[in-house]
């Protein structure tokens, strides 16, 4: 059968196409700009691309359905994640203007790679064919491997990149192997064919396939016991890239995980998720307690948050999925914001990233300290912030599914976690400076970026109805 490609198919791929075009433009334009300039113009082009891709994603709402012989499926679920990833990309680009200038990084490819990473992430959320999912995963991963090493003169950045690359390739190998086994078990790589096949009973092969795919994805979302790379990679990579890495690919990988587990009604996932959720929460939070570098602390915190998110997976489908989707959005808002500020405060050569460097920040830069406080409170899960409601939904979903044990472990974990986030606030407001730490004024781009994150964080915490409604509709679209 010759596949029929219609024009609507291209609309269903439009956001990705826009990003590819703009990414390529940035790459091609890079040799033409003045080598000494700061590449802000390229960043602006990239920003336009990201914004256009968001517009295109919203436009897709009128064109839901299959494309390219059923390899891509546009539904409310994919649109939600497209918009989310588009927003993350735009904010990260905005936050990068100042960072690249301060760090004297004069490579325009940076912006191109961010767009290409977004292509992979967006495709991950709309692909319903395992091989395409794999390709999308690789597109996203390879771009982020390079981005992680962008502080080329710094050894730990290179280490970060190489570590991420080696372990990441290994993990995607697992994922690919899982796909192969799944194909062997069901005779298809299409998510919906697999679902139909699995509904008639699952073989041992299918169980193994699910487990292996889980390993690959668990690596991408940094959930225990596949989290070991996270602190080192986050510490070395440029801070805005970490803002991207810890939210964009993570959201996309969670989207894939939701599709692979729930749309296919995969067998035997419950205990995998259950164990991984508990391990991630506990290891993440306990690890974060003893960190002195804010970047490393946030790395461990992101492991813990992956654990909370997995808790929603363990809950019953209808409410669990929407809770997980809402959580990715809230987490993206607060974490991108937090890393954007960490990037700003780190200053030249990312010299100032330890807790001691934050001492007395409340006095030296009241506005920046206040904004960082909002993000920390949201990460703790204090009311009025999105982090609170997100956590609340997850716990509520788990409780609704009678996972009382998991909820109790979860709430104890979030109590432990409050300590290390609070420590940042304590240090900023209640300690005197340990040494002279210069604090720059925020540039307009960064100001827009963090303001957007603050507004989003508070909006999700006070008026969550809209986003939550979207999350619920997305969840419905996912499970047919």
């Amino acid at each position: 059968m010759i596949p029929q490609i219609q024009s609507a198919d291209y609309i269903r791929l439009l956001p990705e196409l826009i990003l590819i075009v703009f990414g390529t433009i940035v790459m091609l334009a890079e040799p033409m700009v003045d080598p000494k300039s700061n590449r802000k113009s390229l960043g602006l082009i990239a920003l336009v691309g990201a914004v256009l891709s968001i517009v295109a994603s919203v436009y897709q709402a009128g064109y839901m359905g299959d494309a390219f012989s059923g390899a891509i499926h546009v539904d409310k679920f994919s649109i939600f994640f497209h918009v989310l990833i588009g927003l993350i990309t735009a904010v990260v680009i905005l936050a990068s203007f100042e960072y690249l200038e301060v760090q004297q990084i004069k490579y325009g490819e940076y912006y191109g790679l961010i767009l290409l990473a977004a292509v992979g992430q967006m495709l991950m959320s709309s692909a319903v064919e395992l091989v395409l999912i794999f390709i999308a995963l690789e597109i996203s991963s390879i771009a982020t491997y390079i981005l992680a090493g962008f502080r080329r003169r710094v050894a730990i950045s290179i280490e970060s990149s190489v570590k991420y690359f080696l372990l990441g390739s290994f993990a995607t190998g697992f994922f690919l192997y899982g796909i192969a086994l799944m194909f062997g078990a069901t005779g298809s790589t299409d998510v919906y064919h697999i679902a139909a096949s699995l509904s008639q009973g699952a073989s041992t092969l299918a169980y193994a396939g699910v487990a292996l795919m889980f390993v690959g994805l668990a690596f991408k979302v940094a959930s225990a016991p596949f989290h070991v790379w996270t602190p080192d990679v986050y510490e070395g990579a440029p801070a805005p890239v970490v803002a991207l890495m810890s939210t964009g690919p993570k959201a996309a990988a969670f989207a894939v995980l939701l599709r692979v587990l729930f749309a296919t009604a995969a067998p035997g996932w419950f205990w995998l998720i259950w164990v991984s959720a508990i391990l991630s929460m506990s290891i993440g939070n306990i690890g974060a307690l003893v960190q002195t570098s804010v970047k490393r602390m946030l790395a461990y915190s992101s492991i813990a948050h992956a654990g909370y998110l997995l808790m929603a997976f363990a809950a019953a489908q209808d409410i669990g999925i929407s809770a997980a989707i809402f959580y990715t959005a809230a987490y993206a808002a607060m974490n991108v914001g937090a890393f954007a500020l960490v990037a700003h405060l780190a200053n030249v050569g990312e010299k100032y990233v330890t807790l001691d460097d934050y001492a007395g920040l409340g006095r030296r830069a009241p506005a920046q300290a206040a904004i960082l406080t909002v993000f920390m409170l949201s990460l703790i899960g204090i009311p009025v912030t999105g982090g609170f409601l997100a956590k609340f939904y997850v716990f509520q979903a788990a409780m609704q599914s009678h996972l009382t044990g998991l909820v109790v472990i979860g709430v104890i974990n979030s109590a432990i976690a409050s300590y290390y986030y609070l420590r940042v606030i304590v240090v900023m407001y209640m300690r005197d400076p340990v040494r002279e730490v210069p604090v720059l004024r925020m540039s307009p781009g960064l100001l827009v970026a963090v303001s957007a994150c603050v507004v989003a964080t508070i909006y999700l915490g006070v008026l969550p109805n809209k986003v939550l409604g979207l999350a619920i509709e997305s969840a419905k679209a996912l499970v047919r």
């Binding site: 204090i382 009311p383 009025v384 409780m399 709430v411 304590v426 209640m430 939550l468």
Partner: protein, 497 residues
């Protein structure tokens, strides 16, 4: 029936006027005097608004009043549901009464980061009032947690030497304890399908939801959160640290109303929702309360530090509240509630008084003082009135509540009554002994010879405190009239099992 136009949104106003003030403060320029005057205006306005409630309160009605109920979040089903009964109404008024005084108290003692201080103060009071008026469990938890951060920051940023330690300890204690309450609330929602207080109460009372297995854990989940807040022995260790290190206004709000969030929670949730479990667990809780009464008093007696002494006296007084609540007698519950209010006024005043002398001499050590009555006669008089109120002299506010609590305890179990009655004696010992050492005798420390007496601002602060202490002692009926029906409603549930 009075149907005042403002009735339906008075609670929202009282909760959000301080918050609105805080948000406005954020954009106001950093002119200290203007900030103080603005905050004071907001605080007084809030107090006046809150007086609408006792004035238009319908004493014949047993249900929650001034209710407002609107859907907030669709899934999960969360409502913006507020309402007050006699107990919570007076706690709200107590909060709004203390707020303007807190602003005045800080007029000179806080001179750094003035703007932040007042923003936090207003935010804190919004959260506290929100806790008292919420009738939706989610809303309650929302405000409960929201009150944590401003208080921790008030202690940690504006406190004394060991402020950071105290702030972190305060935060962690309450945070860790309250997550168990969250788990219990989620369990209830999962089984009842609503966060609404009255829905859950009805579901449990009519046995529409079977909590026979989980009841014990639910009760404990709520209990631990409230017991730490009260604080009940042995969860009290955060309190002396927090109090001693907090700035005066922080101590006043902390002792005055924040602790009452705990006892209020015990009354509203532990007894209101789980009457069976409350009955079953009452014996050991009462034992903890009595230990608290006596232990708090004994430890207070040996404190060399005035502020710490008052802090430990709070442990003792709050023990009375818990004793009254768990005596399951009308008089005990009314008394317990009255002690909450009386303690709010008298301990608030005591911390204010301690703050005033600290502003002059920068120490709380009792041995540094002596003979102050001769140099500061007005101060000494106010201090005496409040001391007597705190001890429980008849015709002052402390007496009424403690007497009722002890009567209730006697009715429930004479042994409880006898043992806890000794607490009254202890409180006379430590308070009067402190008074003697600070105010009587010769002036031994030269630094005290030239202390100036209270100025007008300080007198303006203390008059409301003293007046309230006297009026509450002479005419307690003004308060118990509203408290009584509320308590009857709660007790009817416990007894009519």
């Amino acid at each position: 029936m009075n149907t005042h136009v403002i009735d339906s949104f008075i609670l929202s106003l009282v909760v959000f006027v301080p918050l609105g003030g805080a948000l406005l403060l954020m954009i106001l320029p950093r002119r200290e005097r203007d900030i103080r005057i603005f905050t004071l205006t907001v605080a007084v306005l809030t107090f006046i608004l809150s007086l609408h409630m006792p004035i238009h309160f319908d004493y014949a009605q047993h249900d929650f009043q001034f209710q407002v109920n609107a859907p907030w979040i669709q899934t999960p089903n969360i409502h913006y549901h507020m309402g007050v009964d006699g107990v919570s109404m007076w706690l709200v008024v107590l909060t709004t009464f203390l707020l303007p005084l807190c602003v005045l108290v800080s007029w000179h003692s806080v001179h750094e980061r003035v703007k932040e201080f007042h923003i936090l103060l207003l935010m804190l009071s919004s959260a506290i009032i929100g806790v008292f008026v919420s009738l939706d469990l989610f809303l309650f938890y929302f405000f409960w947690e929201a009150s944590l951060i401003p208080m921790a920051l008030l202690i940690g940023v504006f406190g004394h030497d060991r402020r950071v330690y105290a702030a972190v300890k305060f935060f962690l204690y309450t945070m860790i304890a309250s997550v168990f309450m969250l788990a219990a609330m989620l369990w209830l929602y999962a089984h009842v399908g609503s966060f609404d207080y009255t829905d859950i109460q009805r579901a449990i009372a009519t046995k529409a939801v079977d909590i026979s297995g989980a009841g014990k854990w639910l009760f404990l989940g709520f209990f631990i959160a409230f017991a730490v807040k009260v604080p009940l022995f042995p969860f009290h260790t955060w309190l002396p640290d927090a109090h001693v290190e907090a700035p005066t206004a922080g101590s006043v709000l902390l002792a005055g109303v924040l602790l009452k969030m705990g006892t209020y929670g015990l009354l509203r949730f532990n007894i209101g929702l789980f009457p069976d479990e409350a009955h079953r667990n009452a014996p050991w809780i009462v034992v903890l309360a009595i230990i608290g009464i006596i232990y708090g008093a004994l430890v207070a007696m040996v404190q060399p530090n005035m502020k710490k002494l008052v802090a430990y006296s709070s442990v003792s007084h709050l023990g009375f509240v818990v004793l009254g609540i768990f005596s399951f007698t009308t008089i005990g519950l009314v008394g317990g509630t009255f002690v909450m209010l009386a303690h709010g006024v008298s301990t608030g005043a005591l911390f204010t008084l301690c703050g005033m002398i600290y502003e002059r001499r920068h120490t709380y050590e009792i041995t540094e003082y002596g003979g102050l009555a001769t140099v500061m006669p007005v101060y000494a008089t106010f201090f005496l009135v409040i001391t007597l109120a705190s001890i429980g002299l008849p015709l002052l506010n402390g007496f009424v509540g403690e007497f009722m609590v002890l009567s209730g305890a006697f009715l429930a179990n004479p042994v409880w009554g006898i043992v806890s009655a000794t607490g009254v004696i202890w409180s006379a010992c430590y308070m009067l002994w402190m008074y003697k050492r600070v105010f009587y005798g010769e002036i031994t420390n030269d630094a005290n010879r030239k202390l100036r007496d209270l100025n007008n601002r300080e007198r303006i602060i203390l008059w409301p405190f003293a007046a309230a202490a006297v009026i509450m002692g002479v005419a307690p009926l003004l308060w118990t009239r509203a408290i009584d029906p509320a308590v009857q409603t709660i007790l009817a549930q416990v007894m009519g099992r």
